[in-house]
């Protein structure tokens, strides 16, 4: 039982999906145990695969465990169903299976009583299966198929309460926005395939390293791939769907829009980074630029947002931007490390928010507050998550964020580094604001506060479990810790692109980030403590700035304008063409013509014998004439 059987990891939840869809409603408890059992099995299988990988990872020349079957083949064209396990994959498998398991357990409590309870778990299984396939895929076509499957799962789950208009709209928005990116991804994949003749990732790498692609061609292909990544990972300008995706149930937000699906883009770029390295430097510059933009606009929008889940969504965008900047700085290690710890503390934050919502039935920051005494467990775990997000030592987020700052300092220019530091400060600000407004001081709505309480065990236990890696997960960066667990070393010696990176303490970065982080917390406390008077006055003074931030830089309005003026006009023209020309003239017209011909021809059957006899003789005469003339 090892890497050869890695394909079972997605297969089990996929089977669970089928079972739940077909017979879910007849099972006891609508089959939630089927889904949870399946994902638990995936997690256990992952552990086996991990052990097997660790056995061989030190061997020279180890690339990854592989297993593939032929799927479609005609002539020289072949599509394979293949699974590839290497260090990057293992990290992703860990994250996806573990978080998915905890979220599904949490959902038992959160979604209790929902009329479509069974369907929820079915789609959860589908999503998990697709995501696991995505990270295990060894060829781009299978990856793309899983990519689409993940998008479908996300759509179904965001729009889970589709009776609510805003939820249905959000699901549509998510799907359409990521679709735009997906087109780019497909073009990129096809461009790569076109020259290399294969979809297999390792073969494409070999082809590229041998110089098979022209630089411009490769750069273009890689940028198209990044378009897909940008869509799924919410990079500017395709970030607009993620805040709206909060319409879905909170566990969904925790799983999909924090820990797994949105990091698919990061995974893709990380996996394909060798190609990015071979392309023109402008490719990685684009990645960095968009990542950095996302970091800054998300942090600033987070300052003005008022819904608890939205603020956390902006923090997710912020984190994704950071990961992209890390990749743009040529570092797979930093990006994957941040991805790893981020999954834990972000899921923790979302599930904590879910507990708050579940307890108070409220989501607006203006209506929350003072929950610390009523929901101690939730408050403490949420605090851990917040501090990890800000990046306070010794929590996990600190180590990861500092790694990113380090590679940004080394590989990017001073401007990028400065902006990154600025973002640390702003992030600290808005996360502090979030925590204070939700849990501390007096509640603005005493009634809801009064019957707030920590949630039931199915919901609080996952919070506690997640708090542990969120707090101490960062220590895996040390060689000693890594070796003690059976890895070749710390995180940097396990997951890397060219050279193993042993962890080094960079004091200057540590100091800077700590000062900025703590400074942000202090300023945040000043601004938003008690009745948040300073913040209110600030908001009044800079009302226009506040409006821009509150309205998310009016990007949504701009997109809607483009859609209305360009897309819908175009589609109106096309639909006119389809209705009038294709349908009325082409289809109805040819049918009408046939009918008319039939009507006309009916007059030849007069019923009179002499007419028929005449027709027969005419035929004979013509035949005779032909024979006479041709003398055949």
């Amino acid at each position: 039982m090892g890497m050869e059987q890695a394909w079972l990891i997605p297969a089990v939840p996929a089977a669970a999906f089928v079972v739940l869809t077909l017979v879910g409603k007849y099972l006891p408890r609508k089959g939630d145990w089927v889904a949870i059992g399946a994902i638990a099995a995936s997690f256990i299988l992952f552990l086996f695969v991990l052990v097997d990988l660790l056995d061989v990872v030190d061997e020279p020349g180890f690339v990854g465990g592989e297993k593939s079957w032929e799927w479609v083949s005609f002539g020289s064209f072949e599509i394979r169903l293949g699974f590839f396990t290497d260090e990057i994959t293992i990290v992703m498998l860990a994250v996806v299976s573990f978080i998915s398991l905890l979220v599904q357990i949490y959902s038992v409590g959160y979604m209790r009583g929902d009329p479509r309870y069974g369907w929820y778990f079915a789609v959860m299984s589908l999503f998990s299966a697709a995501m696991l396939t995505l990270v295990l895929a060894d060829n781009l076509l299978l990856l793309y198929a899983a990519w689409e499957g993940v998008g479908l799962g996300s759509f179904l789950l965001i729009g889970f309460w589709w009776e609510k208009q805003s939820a249905a709209e959000a699901a549509k928005k998510a799907f359409t926005t990521t679709r735009i990116g997906d087109v780019g991804l497909l073009i990129g994949i096809l461009m790569l395939w076109n020259e290399a003749g294969t979809f297999d990732i390792s073969e494409i790498f070999e082809f590229a390293e041998a110089g098979g692609y022209g630089t411009t061609y490769l750069t273009a292909a890689v940028l198209f791939l990044f378009a897909g990544a940008a869509g799924k990972s919410g990079q500017f300008p395709l970030h607009v769907w993620l805040p709206d995706a909060m319409e879905g149930p909170t566990p969904v937000s925790a799983l999909i829009h924090a820990a797994t699906m949105v990091v698919a883009g990061v995974y893709l770029v990380a996996r394909m980074l060798p190609l990015f390295e071979l392309a023109d430097p402008i490719a990685l510059n684009v990645v960095t630029a968009l990542g950095l933009t996302t970091v800054l606009i998300s942090a600033t929008m987070g300052l003005a947002a008022t819904d608890i889940k939205r603020v956390i969504a902006y923090s997710t965008l912020n984190s994704l931007g950071l990961m992209m900047v890390a990749l743009g700085s040529h570092s797979v290690t930093a990006a994957m490390f941040y991805l790893f710890v981020h999954a834990f503390f972000k899921a923790l934050l979302f599930l904590g928010a879910g507990s708050v919502i579940h307890a108070t039935e409220k989501q607006e920051l203006d209506e929350l507050g003072g929950l610390a005494s009523k929901m101690p467990l939730t408050t403490v775990t949420f605090a851990v998550g917040t501090l990890a997000m800000i990046g306070i030592i010794p929590l996990s987020g600190f180590w990861a964020k500092d790694e990113i700052l380090h590679v940004a300092e080394v590989n990017q220019n001073a401007g990028v580094y400065a902006l990154m530091l600025l973002s640390v400060f702003i992030t600290s600000l808005f996360m502090t604001r979030l925590f204070i407004r939700t849990f501390l001081f007096n509640s603005r709505d005493p009634e809801s506060r009064d019957h707030a309480h920590d949630a039931e065990p199915t919901m609080t236990v996952p919070l506690l479990i997640l708090a542990v890696p969120a707090a101490i997960g960062g220590f895996v960066v040390f060689s000693g810790v890594g070796e003690a667990m059976g890895f070749p070393g710390g995180f940097g010696e396990f997951v890397y692109l060219e050279h193993a990176e042993e962890f080094v303490f960079h004091w200057d970065i540590v100091v800077l980030s700590t000062v900025l982080g703590v400074g942000g917390m202090v300023v945040g406390y000043i601004f938003w403590a008690n009745q948040a008077e300073p913040a209110r006055r600030m908001g009044e003074m800079f009302r226009p700035v506040y409006n821009v931030l509150y309205n998310r830089y009016y990007i949504d309005e701009f997109y809607q304008f483009v859609i209305d003026r360009i897309v819908l006009v175009g589609s109106a023209a096309i639909s006119w063409y389809d209705r009038n020309i294709v349908n009325d003239t082409g289809v109805d017209g040819s049918a009408g013509l046939t009918g008319f011909a039939g009507w006309g021809l009916k007059f030849t059957s007069t019923g009179k014998l002499p007419n028929y006899a005449l027709a027969i003789s005419a035929g004979v005469i013509i035949l005779a004439l032909v024979f006479l003339v041709v003398k055949a």
Binding site: P610, L614, S617, V620, I621, A624, L625, L628
Partner: protein, 171 residues
Amino acid sequence: MSYEEGIFYVVAAVTVLGALGVVLSRNVIHSALFLIVSLLAVAGVFILLAAEFLAIVQVLVYGGAVTILILFAMMLTRVRDMPRALTGPQWPLAALAGSMIGGISIAAVLGTEWPGETNEAGQAIEVTVIPIEKIGHDLFTVWAVPFEIASLVLIVALLGAIILARGEEGE
């Protein structure tokens, strides 16, 4: 022309005139009588073709049986009581069709090389008269199968005619 040809032209003329009478006459009974004339003339043509047996059969069957049948049918369908135009509205097209068929056929005939009256040695070919015994003998040996089938056809036609013409019970 030899006297044979002369006889031929006479007989042919009678045949054609009789035929024209059949198709052009305005009285049905007259048409039937013209048919008899034509049929008998054709018997004459058969004699000219040295098929005497056939001529006799022609006279017996056609002249005797078929025309009587037709006259009976005329009687039973009261054809005399319904004086109406006997030629339908499409007669111009019919004339065209008939003349075209005839024309094409004649053109084909005249355009073909038929074996002449003299054989290779230069002597006139004698007309071969087939003795009746030979016809009878071959009819029952070489042509036995068509013969039997023909008798079957006759039986079926007989039965069919009886059933068709008999009508419903109680009529």
